[in-house]
């Protein structure tokens, strides 16, 4: 995914250090999805906590299988500038254990599984815009279709060796375009089709657990080091380390900027603001972290923190119900991070391309970034909206109004997140499953 600065003479050999590093990074990125689930889960009301957690968690199941079957081959095989294919990778059927990823010192399997974690979290990101109201079956099918017809091609464009954006020179180090703008634009497309929550702008929809939000944001921040630093696919030349540093720096700056903005604008330093600012910074540094200096990372983070804090209010002004601000944080943060490469790229990191403030002070890189950003944004928004429309007309995307009001957890999952009944030691209702009761009796008899 990162451009190769490899000399022809250096035929890469399997590096156990890089391989170990990348396996750990893959595991870190995996942790981001449950982290995201908590981040989102704490922000919804009590009655839809579990659904929010499940909408992220199910992605771990569905995308893993699809990625192994055909996703990896379509995204990273070579075929043309729009889509890839490699029949050896279909079902991972003909990949040798020590076969190396093109030009790098890590096995294909390692690259495949690292990329799998990206493919998992991207659709999970979308779910935050759909809180409280989408049928779990429709959502599951949406993930499968969306990964296939949106994520896979976009990943190929941006990171594939013959992808058009990659060849054009669009810089997207770890997924500002392919992951965040892609997910944010998809979220916008879907909510324009499925509509608002019942009571949007009328009923209070306060987060039910800010500690869960903080836990999730913390796990995201931690996992993001794998997401970003791992995207250099090894750490032989220090670019991965630069990325690690920039990830920390930009995130800190964005958190502080968001808090400062809301203190001035709304009068308080809020916990949700700190968590949201951190995520906005992580999003913005994702595409840009390999191209900018740590001072540039501070600028990227601070700008993203303020811009995203301002953007999250737009849903109330325009009346679209982006429940947990996927558009305001991921799309806006991704756009900012991607475009700022055109200003702050130093030419000393992942590539020699420089931004307006460096090198020849030209707008060349900025235009390339614009092309990448707006192509992905438009494709993802339109195709996702069409997909949601078709699913809505066939399966139906939304639960009934009654189910939404009484809580999607019970309607879709036959569970509730918390037991609030303290009376009589928390016993609620009677055991409704005779089979279970009978089974327990048998145990006692024996």
């Amino acid at each position: 995914m990162a451009p190769a600065i490899m000399l022809a003479a250096d035929a890469p050999k399997l590096s156990s250090a890089n391989t170990g590093f990348m396996l750990i990074c893959s595991a870190l990125v995996m942790l981001m999805t449950p982290g995201l689930a908590f981040f989102y889960g704490g922000m919804v009301r009590v009655k839809s906590t579990l659904n929010m957690l499940m909408m992220s968690f199910i992605s771990l199941g569905i995308v893993t299988i699809l990625w192994v079957l055909y996703g990896f081959s379509l995204a990273f095989g070579t075929h043309n500038s729009l889509i890839g294919w490699n029949s050896d990778w279909f079902g991972l059927s003909n990949i040798g254990l020590t076969e190396l990823w093109d030009g790098y010192s890590i096995p294909v399997f390692v690259f495949m599984v690292f990329q799998l974690m990206f493919a998992i979290i991207t659709p999970a990101l979308i779910s935050g815009a759909l809180a409280d109201r989408v049928k779990f079956s429709a959502w599951s099918l949406f993930i499968a279709l969306w990964v296939t017809i949106v994520y896979v091609p976009v990943a190929h464009w941006v990171w594939g060796a013959d992808g058009w954006a990659y060849k054009l020179g669009v810089i997207d180090f770890a997924g500002g375009t392919a992951v965040h703008i892609n997910a944010g634009a998809a979220a916008l497309g879907v909510i324009l089709v499925i509509g608002k929550r019942v009571g949007f702008k009328r009923d209070p929809m306060r987060p039910h657990s800010l500690p869960l939000v903080m836990l999730g944001a913390g796990l995201l921040w931690f996992g993001w080091f794998g997401f970003n630093a791992g995207s250099w696919l090894g750490n032989d030349d220090g670019v991965g380390a630069l990325m690690f540093v920039n990830t920390q720096v930009a995130t800190a700056a964005a958190m502080l900027a968001w808090l400062a903005y809301e203190k001035i604008r709304h009068g308080a330093f809020t916990t949700l603001g700190a968590a949201s600012g951190a995520v906005a910074g992580l999003v913005a540094i994702t595409p840009s972290g390999g191209a900018v200096s740590p001072l540039g990372a501070i600028a990227v983070g601070a700008i993203a923190g303020v811009a995203c804090a301002a953007a999250v209010g737009l849903k109330f002004r325009f009346g679209y119900d982006d429940s947990l601000d996927v558009v305001g944080v991921h799309m806006v943060g991704g756009i900012i991070g991607s475009l700022l490469i055109g200003f702050f790229a130093t030419g000393k990191g992942q590539s020699t391309a420089t931004g307006v403030f460096y090198g020849d002070h030209t707008f060349t890189q900025l235009w390339k970034q614009c092309a990448g950003v707006f192509a992905v944004l438009a494709y993802s928004l339109i195709v996702s909206a069409v997909l949601a429309f078709l699913l809505d007309k066939t399966l139906g995307m939304r639960v009934t109004e009654d189910e939404e009001i009484s809580g999607i957890d019970q309607a879709e999952h036959a569970e509730t997140a918390y037991d609030f009944s303290g009376a009589g030691g928390g016993v609620t209702g009677s055991l409704a499953a005779p089979a279970l009761a009978a089974a327990q009796n048998k145990k006692v008899d024996a």
Binding site: R206, H266, G267, L272, G273, F316
Partner: protein
């Protein structure tokens, strides 16, 4: 007999309890409650969206007293609960027909 009910600020509970004990009250019931009087609630901000929370946390204290003690007990509670700021709460009393101590079956004033 009278039932004296006080809905007051939660942080005054200890003072009220001590004052009632000093007066000679043997038992009381405390419940968490929420409500508002003239002060209404407060505002919370989540990502810039402001929510008005109408109901403020309160506690409700209930004490059974003999008729002769009731007025004085109300005074004791009011004095201990007062901070002078808005939202201090209210105290009222109601007539009670009977009271029974469950353990012994004693009735009326003996049950207090």
């Amino acid at each position: 007999m009278k039932l004296i009910t006080a809905v007051v600020k939660p942080h005054r509970l200890d003072e009220i309890k001590e004052a009632l004990q000093a007066f000679g009250v043997h038992g009381l019931t405390v419940t968490e409650a929420s409500g508002y009087g003239r002060q209404r609630g407060h505002t919370e901000v989540y990502r810039g969206a402001e929510y008005t929370v109408d109901l403020v946390p309160k506690i409700r204290i209930e004490v059974l007293a003999e008729d002769d003690d009731a007025d004085q007990l109300i005074e004791v509670i009011v004095k201990a609960a007062r901070t002078g700021k808005i939202g201090d709460g209210k105290v009222w009393s109601l007539p009670v027909e009977t009271a029974v101590r469950v353990r012994t079956g004693e009735r009326g004033p003996d049950a207090l």
